[in-house]
């Protein structure tokens, strides 16, 4: 994927750029708001990663400007401001996701991947399918190998999120935000308990396990190789 990184801190930028490049992405980097805006408006990217506070033109201003000119590229905002209002403000300005510094690199990569794989909004999906696991979004039913699986509403939401991001790493915080709308990190690992219950329903007595735990990073739903 082709990514734009606008980040003024030289060291952070170098580290993020190297890691994203190692993960197989092409990264353009701008170190101030004006250069960032020129690149964001002039080039086509799969995902943009904008720091919120930048010299000259700040990240939110870049975001508002490109959104006003019709650029729909997914944007991940990075911020050192951790307030609730800051997040709301960022999303209202047209940001698609928000990550508070400091962050684990795996978290950034997972979120960038999740943003890039977003289906276009006009494309209304009614069924999701991964291997022999099938989810009907209209009837709210799930089958595996044709056999019905009964899920609690939360488990359904959890599985839906995993299926929409099939093959990709989904972190705990992504699930907390998407499924429970928790924008803080509880000390209890509630995600683990829910995923293990979901796994018991989806993968029990199956030859192939679909829900995988990536230790210390998160989860991934995919057909095993």
């Amino acid at each position: 994927m082709k990514l734009l990184l606008v980040e003024d801190d030289r060291e952070t930028a170098a580290y993020v750029k190297r890691a994203l490049t190692e993960a197989g992405h092409a990264v353009d980097h701008a170190s101030d708001g004006r250069d960032g805006l020129l690149l964001a408006a002039g080039e086509t990217y799969d995902v943009m990663v904008l720091d919120r506070m930048l010299p000259r033109v700040d990240g939110l201003a870049i975001l508002r400007t490109i959104r006003a000119s019709g650029v729909k590229t997914p944007v991940l905002l990075l911020t050192a401001l951790g307030g609730i209002d800051d997040r709301v403000e960022g999303l209202e300005a047209g940001g698609d996701d928000y990550l508070v510094k400091p962050f684990a690199f795996a978290e950034l990569l997972a979120r960038v991947n999740a943003l890039a794989r977003r289906p276009p909004p006009q494309d209304v999906q009614t069924t999701l399918r991964v291997a022999d696991l099938e989810m009907n979004l209209l009837r709210r039913t799930v089958t595996r190998g044709g056999k019905r699986i009964e899920l609690q509403p939360r488990e359904f939401q959890l599985l839906e999120y995993l299926m929409r991001h099939a093959g990709k790493l989904v972190t705990r915080t992504m699930l907390l935000e998407a499924v429970w709308d928790f924008h803080f990190d509880p000390k209890t690992n509630i995600v683990e308990s829910h995923v293990s219950r979901l796994r018991a329903k989806v993968d029990r007595n199956q030859a192939k396990e679909l829900i995988h735990t990536l230790r210390g990073a998160g989860y991934s739903l995919r057909e095993p190789d």
Binding site: G82, G83, I84, D85, V88, V100, P102, R154, W180, D181, F182, H183, F184, D185, P186, K187, T188, N189, I190, E192, S193, H194, S196, R197, G216
Partner: protein
């Protein structure tokens, strides 16, 4: 002093009053002059009438005698009697060819001074003419008197206005200087300084009171900031020291599983430090009151259900039970995200401290018209002596030093509750601890059906 707003105002008012006194004087002068002239004319007319009567009764000789007599009386009017062809018979006005009706004659006085005499001529029977008139110098005298008095009054008004204005400016100046002094002292760093108020309760006092309330608010914010820096120093240094030690000890270690484990441990420490830091900032933000703008109508019971649903599986995995009780819907005004976080902290606190087989209940209820959210556990509870300190930042019971947690959970609960105008109270649940958050009674609370307790 000359740049004082109240003095300028006083001068302006003095000018306005002087102008008003001038207008009043003019009107009085005109009115008085009119009234006096009419009175004078009436006197002349009534004298003419009396002498015409004399002519009718006593004839020409009678009236001529009367005219001569009156002419000699000092202070009386002036008179004249003429033949039909204008020759004088008696009186000093006769023979001056005055017109019929009203006219003014200019005459020389004994001392050579000229005087204007207002004359009325009446034609009697057989064409004889009777003249009655007088000098209206008395009217002028009154005019002059009035003008002098009003000039004096104007001077008085100006004096009173200026002296009063000066006094007013000084009084106001002193009070404004007190406010300025207080502000200057605060700028110089004395945040405890307040603006003095008089007992009159006027607009300046109200301004001072508002000013003082603003200062109280700023002082609270400053105190909160100071508290945060103290807290940061107090409780971030310890884990940072530990982290530093860990990194230092492993600096020379060769690459391998042990070194990897050390780095992972360091990352875990770092995450804990960041979490504490984030919680501190969050508490400071909440205590700053900045979040009240996000208030809206929310349902406590829905939030409680979400939290219980989220935590029940992990509680179950740990051999504990987490249940929801109470009404199905409980509306309050609040910030959903903060209320959720508050409840999460309470639930985690309950599960953590109540032990391995704990039974924790989250309950939504209406008590005495007020929405109440409580979290009740059946653990060892908290000794009476410790309850108050439970909400201090970083305070952790001695017994729980070994369990994880930054000690910030309940501080955040207290901050969120305070923001919502709610009271947090701790009760003995025999056994266990009940934490009760009582929200203020809202108009929405009363509209809610207080349905029977349902268990989730």
């Amino acid at each position: 002093m000359w740049r004082s707003a109240s003095l300028r105002l006083a001068i302006l008012y003095t000018l306005a009053f002087t102008a008003a006194v001038g207008v009043l004087g003019l009107v009085t002068l005109m009115t008085t002059r009119g009234a006096l002239s009419r009175q004078f004319d009436a006197r002349i007319l009534s004298e003419s009438e009396a002498l015409a009567q004399e002519f009718r009764v006593e004839g020409l000789n009678g009236v001529a005698q009367a005219v001569q007599e009156r002419d000699r009386t000092p202070g009386a009017l002036d008179y004249g009697l003429e033949t039909p062809d204008g020759r004088p018979i008696a009186g000093r006005l006769a023979g001056r060819s005055a017109d019929s009706g009203w006219s003014t004659l200019t005459m020389k006085q004994a001392g050579g001074e000229r005087e204007n005499i207002r004359v009325h001529a009446t034609t009697l029977a057989h064409g004889y003419r009777l003249l009655v008139g007088g000098d209206d110098e008395s009217i002028e005298a009154v005019d002059n008197l009035l003008v002098r008095r009003f000039a004096l009054a104007t001077v008085g008004v100006v004096m009173i206005g200026l002296v009063g204005g000066y006094g007013l400016a000084r009084g106001m100046g002193r009070r404004i200087a007190a406010i300025t002094d207080a502000a200057e002292a605060i700028i110089d760093g004395d945040l405890s300084r307040r603006v003095p108020a008089t007992r009159s309760g006027d607009d300046l006092d109200r301004l001072a009171a508002t000013f003082n309330r603003m200062l109280d608010r700023i002082a609270t914010l400053m105190e909160s900031l100071r508290q945060v820096s103290n807290d940061v120093a107090h409780d971030l240094r310890t884990p940072l020291t530990r982290l530093r030690g860990r990194l230092e000890a492993n600096l020379g270690r060769p690459a391998g599983p042990e070194r990897t484990a050390a780095i992972e441990g360091a990352l875990t420490d770092l995450d804990a430090i960041l979490a504490t830091f984030a919680a501190l900032l969050r508490i400071a933000q909440i205590e700053g009151g900045a979040r009240r703008s996000a208030f809206r109508a929310i349902d406590l019971a829905t939030i409680a259900r979400t939290v219980v649903d989220a935590f029940a599986p992990s509680a179950e995995d740990a051999g504990q039970r987490l249940e929801l009780e109470g009404v199905n819907s409980l509306a309050i005004e609040g910030d959903p995200e903060l209320i959720t976080q508050m409840l999460v902290n309470l639930v985690e606190n309950g599960l953590r401290h109540a032990g391995p087989r704990a039974w924790v209940r989250v309950r939504c209820a209406v008590q005495a018209g007020r929405p109440v959210l409580s979290v009740v556990d059946d653990g060892p509870g908290v000794p009476d002596s410790e309850r108050e300190r439970l909400f201090d930042r970083f305070h952790r019971l001695e017994a729980s030093r070994s369990t994880p947690g930054s000690g910030l959970g309940l501080s955040m609960v207290a901050a969120v509750a305070k923001l919502h105008g709610a009271e947090v109270s701790l009760h003995d649940a025999t056994p266990g601890l009940a934490v009760r958050v009582t929200f203020p009674a809202g108009e929405r609370t009363l509209q809610l059906p207080n349905v029977a307790a349902t268990s989730s």
